[in-house]
C-alpha cells in the first residue's frame, strides 16, 4: 500500500502558477498525508499510532520533554550523559542488552539529545513489536543507576566530546559562538557540556533527573508501521500504563533579551589551517511565520550552488572554499547561521564584507520568483523523501508533539512554507539580519612557530 498521496491545493499551487520562471509550470504537485490516531494513557503518556502496511517494519520513538535547556549551572552536558545511561540496563534488561537485541534482530536504533528534547528510537522487523515495547517500557519504569555504569558512560561521552569538538579544527568555535550569542543559560551552553561538569555528575543527579523528567506524563510515544492499531494500543497500555506519573517538571524560562550591539570573538585554533568566519543572527522560535520566512531566506542566501553567497564568494570573488548555513529550528529563540572557510591568503574582513553586501542586496531588493520557488521545492522534496521510512515519521511526529503540541504538523508543515511570500522574506531580512543583531566568531590558525617539531 502506498502512502496516501494528495494533490496540494491552495496557496502553494497558486503561488507556483503565478510565479514567472523560465521553467514550465509543474503539472500537479503531490504530497503525502499521514493518518494518525492519538491516545492518552491514564498516566499521561501521549501515544500516536500510524498504521501503515507498506513494509514489514515497525518503528517506535519516545521523546522526553527534556534537553540541555533544563540543565543547571555546573551540570552542563548532563541531559546527554543521562541519555547514555538509558542504555545501561533496567530491571529486566541488562547493560547494553537493549542495543544488543535490536541490532542482532535486524533492527536499528539510536538516541539523541539536543537543547530542547531527548529522543530514543528503534526500527525492527514487524514481528518484533513486543520486543520494542518491552525494552522501552522497562527502562521508563525501572532504570538501573550505579556508579560503575555512570563512570563508563562518562568516559564514552568525554570521548564523544573530544571526537567532535576538542580534536577537530574549528571545534571550539561553535561553542564560543553559542556562549556569545545567547544570554539565557538554557541555550548559552552546548549540549555536549564541559569536561569539568561531566566529571561532576553523580549517581544522585542521575536518579533525581530520572524521576523528574523520565515520567510517562513528560513523554510522547509514536509507533509507525505494520501493525493493527487496536492490538498495538492494547499492548502499549499493558506495557506502559502502570508506570506512575510524576509532578510536572518546572518550566524553563526561555526569555532571551533583545540584542543591541554586534558581538564578536576571535579564536586561535592550533588544529585549523584555514581561517573561518562564523556568523549568527538571533531570530525567532521555530514553527512561527517569521521562522518559515527565514528558512526561505536562508535557501536563497546560502542553499546550494545557485545561492547568492556561493555564486558571489566561491565563484565570482573566489574568496572561500566553501560557504553555507541554515536557519536553526528551536523551541526558544533560534538563529540564522552562516559559515565560510577561507582560501589561503584571503582576509576575513573581505569575506565578512562580501557576505554583508549580499545581505544588504536582499534587504533592499528582496528575492526573485525563482528563489522563492527553489526554497519551496527543495523543502518539499527533502520533506517528502524523509517520509519514506517509518522511523523518520515516528521521530518527526514525537518531536513536533513535544515541541509544539502538534502531531498534525506533519500534514501542515509544507503549507506553512508555501504561505511565505517574497515580501515576508524581505521583511525578515530587514528585521533580523542587522549589524547590531549579529554574532561573529573568527577562527584563525594558530601560528606554529618554534614549537613545531624538526623536520627532515
Amino acid at each position: 500500500m502506498r502512502l496516501k498521496q494528495q494533490f496540494l491545493t491552495g496557496l502553494l499551487a497558486l503561488s507556483l502558477v503565478l510565479s514567472a520562471t523560465a521553467l514550465a509550470v509543474p503539472k500537479g504537485e503531490r504530497t503525502v498525508h499521514v493518518d494518525y490516531k492519538e491516545t492518552k494513557l491514564k498516566n499521561g503518556l501521549r501515544v500516536i499510532t500510524v498504521e501503515d502496511h507498506s513494509a514489514p517494519v515497525i518503528a517506535i520513538d519516545i521523546t522526553y520533554n527534556v534537553g540541555s535547556r533544563n540543565e543547571r549551572q555546573g551540570r552542563t552536558g548532563f541531559a546527554h550523559l543521562f541519555e547514555h545511561m538509558m542504555f545501561k540496563g533496567s530491571e529486566n534488561v541488562g547493560t547494553g542488552e537493549h542495543f544488543y537485541l535490536i541490532f542482532n534482530n535486524g533492527g536499528t536504533m539510536n538516541g539523541t539529545t539536543n537543547e530542547d528534547r531527548t529522543t530514543y528510537f528503534e526500527a525492527l522487523p514487524a514481528n518484533q513489536l513486543d520486543l520494542a515495547l518491552f525494552l522501552e517500557s522497562d527502562r521508563m519504569r525501572s532504570l538501573v543507576i550505579n556508579k560503575a555504569n555512570l563512570d563508563n558512560q562518562r568516559n564514552a561521552v568525554q570521548e564523544e566530546r573530544r571526537l567532535g569538538v576538542d580534536n577537530q579544527p574549528y571545534g571550539q568555535s561553535g561553542e564560543i559562538q553559542q556562549a556569545l550569542l545567547y544570554d539565557n543559560f538554557a541555550y548559552k551552553h552546548t549540549t555536549i557540556g564541559s569536561m569539568e561538569d561531566l566529571n561532576a555528575a553523580s549517581v544522585e543527579d542521575v536518579a533525581a533527573f530520572f524521576k523528574m523528567y523520565y515520567a510517562p506524563n513528560n513523554a510522547v510515544l509514536t509507533l509507525v508501521g505494520d501493525f493493527n492499531t487496536a492490538d498495538a494500543l492494547k499492548k502499549i497500555k499493558a506495557s506502559f500504563e502502570a508506570i506512575p506519573s510524576q509532578p510536572t517538571p518546572p518550566a524553563v524560562d526561555m526569555t532571551e533579551p533583545q540584542q543591541t550591539a554586534e558581538r564578536r570573538a576571535t579564536v586561535d585554533d592550533a588544529l585549523a589551517r584555514l581561517p573561518q568566519v562564523d556568523l549568527a543572527f538571533k531570530a525567532v522560535p521555530g514553527n512561527t511565520p517569521d521562522f518559515y520566512a527565514l528558512q526561505v531566506l536562508s535557501a536563497a542566501l546560502q542553499g546550494g550552488q545557485s545561492s547568492r553567497l556561493y555564486q558571489s564568494l566561491v565563484k565570482d570573488k573566489q574568496l572561500v572554499t566553501n560557504v553555507g548555513g541554515f536557519m536553526d529550528e528551536k523551541r526558544g529563540v533560534g538563529a540564522l547561521y552562516t559559515s565560510a572557510t577561507l582560501k589561503p591568503g584571503v582576509k576575513t574582513a573581505d569575506v565578512e564584507a562580501a557576505i554583508y553586501d549580499e545581505i544588504e542586496k536582499l534587504k533592499k531588493d528582496g528575492i526573485a520568483d525563482w528563489e522563492l520557488q527553489k526554497a519551496k521545492n527543495t523543502t518539499r522534496r527533502n520533506f517528502i523523501n524523509g517520509m519514506q521510512s517509518s522511523l523518520s515519521r515516528a521521530i518527526q511526529m514525537s518531536v513536533w508533539t513535544v515541541y509544539y503540541n502538534d502531531p498534525n504538523l506533519i500534514n501542515t508543515r509544507l503549507d506553512k512554507v508555501a504561505a511565505v511570500t517574497k515580501e515576508d522574506v524581505q521583511r525578515v531580512a530587514n528585521k533580523y539580519l542587522t549589524a547590531t543583531n549579529r554574532t561573529v566568531v573568527i577562527t584563525m590558525p594558530k601560528p606554529k612557530g618554534a614549537t613545531t617539531a624538526a623536520k627532515q
Binding site: 517494519v57 571526537l163 577537530q168
Partner: protein
C-alpha cells in the same frame, strides 16, 4: 576501499548515542533462532528476559524492470510508489581506474566539472535550474573506482525538466577553462582544509600503506594532476568514455517504464556509441611486512587508530565468510570491538571494523578514536580481539546473532528504495547471478564457525598488519613502539626524524 565516509565540519547541536549508520543489507528467508537465555558477553549483560520473536520475517524483494534504448543504452527501473519522488543515475562504466598513470584524477575532474557548463547552459544556469526545481545533481568518480556516476533526485512532477538538464550535463559538457581554473584553486584549498582533519590523515596514510602505488593508494587527487588539468583533456576523457554502450541508466521512484521510456528515448536515443577502450583492473599489491606508521598532529587530544590489511574482491568466494566475521568483530555496537573498547573499557565513543571489495581486493580494517593516554590500552584490546577472532572459534550464539542481524535487516531495507536499487546495480556491475540477492540469506545461513575462523586467519594477517595512528607523537610513539618500529610522518606525509618531547 577506504572505510572513510565523511568529514565532520561544524559542531552539531545534536548529540547521539552512536555515530553509527546502519547500512541495510538484504535478506529473504527464515533462519534458526538462538534460544533466549542468559549469555556471557564481554561489555554487556544479557539477561534474556525480553520477548524476542524467533522467526526471521520472510521478505520478498521487489524486482527491477529492464529495457534498452535504440542506441543500446541499458535502462534499469525499480518502481517505488511510496512517495512522489525519483532518483536517476547514469553509471558510466569507466572511472578512476581508466586514468593514465601520470594523470591520476582525470575521471574525477571530468565528473566534477560536468555541471560547470554545457553547449547551451552556463554553470550558473545549471545551478539555478536544478535548484529551482528543488532537485539535486551530483557527479563523481573515485581515484580507484571503475565507474563514474551522475545522480539526480527530484519531485516526480518535475521529471521532464530534471531529465532535460541531466541529459544535457551527461552528454554536452563544455568544460569551460575559466571554470576549470576556479575548480583547481578550490581543490588545492580543500586539500589544505582536509589535512586539518585527523580521520582524513589516517585514511590517507592507511590506503597508502596497503596499496602503495595502486590507484587505491590515494584518497585525494594529487596536486600535480590538479595543476595540469585542461579543458581539452577533460573533453577527450568524456568523449572516449561517456558513451551509451559504456553506460547504464538506473532509475528508482514513483514512475513507470511505460511512461518514461519515450522520454528517455528522446533524451538519450541519439547519443552516439563509441569505441571504448577496455580498462585493465590493476591487482592490489601482495601484502608486505607489518608496519606501524604514526602521523604527528601536535595538539591532538585523541589518537586515531586504524589496523588492517587487504581483504577480498567483491565477488570472492569468501565474501559471506568475511561478512559474518566482520559482523561479529566490529560491524556495529553489538559487536566485539564496540562492546570491549567502549562498553567495557570506556576508551572511546566507538570502535568498529569494516570491509569492502571492488574488482580488486578491498581492505579489512578496524578503527577507533581514543584519548591519548589510553592509546596503550586500546592497542592492547585491538590486538586481543584481532588475535581472538583468529585463534578461537566464535560461539554458536554469536554466529546465530550475526546471521539474524544480517538477514533480519532486509525487512528495513524495503523502506529504502535507493538502497534496493544500489544492490541491483551491484549485481549487474559485478556480473553476479540474477538471483544473487534472493539467495543471499541462504549464503549467509550456510556460514559456519569454521568458515569465520578461516576468513579471520586469512584476512587478518598479523604478520602483515598495517597500523596507522594519528595523534600527538610525543606521547603515542613510545606506546606504539611496543608493537614494532614506529615510522613517524608529518601531516604532509614527510618522514620526521625527531619528535618533540612531552612538555608537561
Amino acid at each position: 576501499m577506504s572505510n572513510f565516509t565523511k568529514f565532520r565540519n561544524k559542531v552539531s547541536a545534536l548529540v547521539v548515542i552512536f555515530a553509527f549508520a546502519v547500512m541495510p543489507v538484504m535478506a529473504q528467508q527464515r533462519g534458526g533462532a538462538p534460544a533466549q537465555q542468559q549469555q556471557s558477553v564481554v561489555g554487556a549483560d544479557i539477561k534474556g528476559r525480553a520477548p524476542v520473536n524467533k522467526e526471521i520475517l520472510k521478505v520478498k524483494l521487489p524486482k527491477a524492470e529492464e529495457a534498452t534504448l535504440s542506441n543500446g543504452l541499458r535502462v534499469v527501473l525499480l518502481e517505488s510508489h511510496r512517495v512522489p519522488t525519483f532518483t536517476m543515475q547514469m553509471v558510466i562504466l569507466s572511472g578512476g581506474l581508466s586514468d593514465p598513470a601520470d594523470y591520476r584524477g582525470l575521471a574525477t575532474f571530468t565528473a566534477s566539472l560536468l555541471r560547470e557548463g554545457t553547449a547551451t547552459r552556463k554553470s550558473k544556469d545549471i545551478a539555478e535550474q536544478i535548484d529551482t526545481l528543488g532537485a539535486t545533481l551530483v557527479a563523481n568518480s573515485g581515484l580507484s573506482s571503475f565507474t563514474s556516476n551522475i545522480t539526480s533526485s527530484g519531485l516526480v512532477e518535475n521529471f521532464d525538466q530534471v531529465l532535460d538538464i541531466f541529459a544535457d550535463v551527461v552528454r554536452n559538457p563544455k568544460f569551460p577553462q575559466e571554470e576549470i581554473d576556479k575548480y583547481k584553486q578550490r581543490q588545492i584549498a580543500q586539500l589544505q582544509f582536509l589535512r586539518s582533519n585527523p580521520q582524513f590523515l589516517a585514511a590517507e596514510r592507511f590506503q597508502r600503506a596497503v596499496y602503495g602505488e595502486h590507484p587505491a593508494g590515494m584518497i585525494f587527487t594529487p596536486v600535480e594532476s590538479i595543476k595540469k588539468i585542461t579543458s581539452a583533456d577533460l573533453a577527450r576523457f568524456h568523449s572516449t568514455y561517456y558513451r551509451p554502450n559504456n553506460a547504464m541508466l538506473t532509475i528508482v521512484g514513483d514512475v513507470t517504464l511505460k511512461e518514461i521510456m519515450p522520454k528517455l528515448e528522446k533524451a538519450f536515443g541519439d547519443w552516439q556509441k563509441g569505441d571504448v577502450p577496455a580498462t585493465k583492473i590493476p591487482a592490489a599489491p601482495e601484502p608486505g611486512a607489518a608496519r606501524i606508521q604514526l602521523i604527528d598532529r601536535p595538539g591532538s587530544v585523541q589518537t586515531v587508530l586504524q589496523l588492517g590489511n587487504l581483504g577480498i574482491e567483491r565477488t570472492n568466494k569468501d565474501y559471506f565468510a568475511v561478512l559474518v566475521m566482520n559482523q561479529i568483530l566490529g560491524a556495529g555496537p553489538a559487536a566485539r570491538l564496540f562492546l570491549n573498547l567502549r562498553e567495557k573499557n570506556g576508551y572511546t565513543y566507538g570502535a568498529y571494523s569494516n570491509f569492502g571489495g571492488s574488482k580488486f581486493r578491498g581492505t579489512v580494517v578496524s578503527s577507533s578514536e581514543v584519548r591519548t593516554d589510553v592509546t596503550e590500552g586500546a592497542m592492547k584490546e585491538f590486538m586481543y580481539e584481532l588475535k581472538r577472532i583468529r585463534d578461537e572459534k566464535v560461539s554458536p550464539v554469536e554466529l546465530e546473532n550475526a546471521k539474524r542481524a544480517l538477514i533480519g535487516s532486509f525487512a528495513l531495507s524495503l523502506e529504502q528504495p535507493n538502497a534496493l536499487l544500489q544492490n541491483i546495480v551491484t549485481q549487474k556491475l559485478y556480473d553476479m547471478p540474477a538471483d544473487y540477492w534472493d539467495t543471499y540469506p541462504q549464503m549467509v545461513s550456510a556460514i559456519t564457525a569454521d568458515d569465520v575462523q578461516r576468513a579471520a586467519q586469512k584476512y587478518i594477517d598479523l604478520n602483515s598488519l598495517q597500523v596507522v595512528a594519528v595523534g600527538d607523537a610525543s606521547k603515542a610513539r613510545e606506546v606504539l613502539s611496543k608493537y614494532g618500529t614506529v615510522e613517524v610522518f608529518d601531516a604532509e606525509g614527510q618522514p620526521m626524524t625527531e619528535v618533540k618531547k612531552p612538555t608537561q
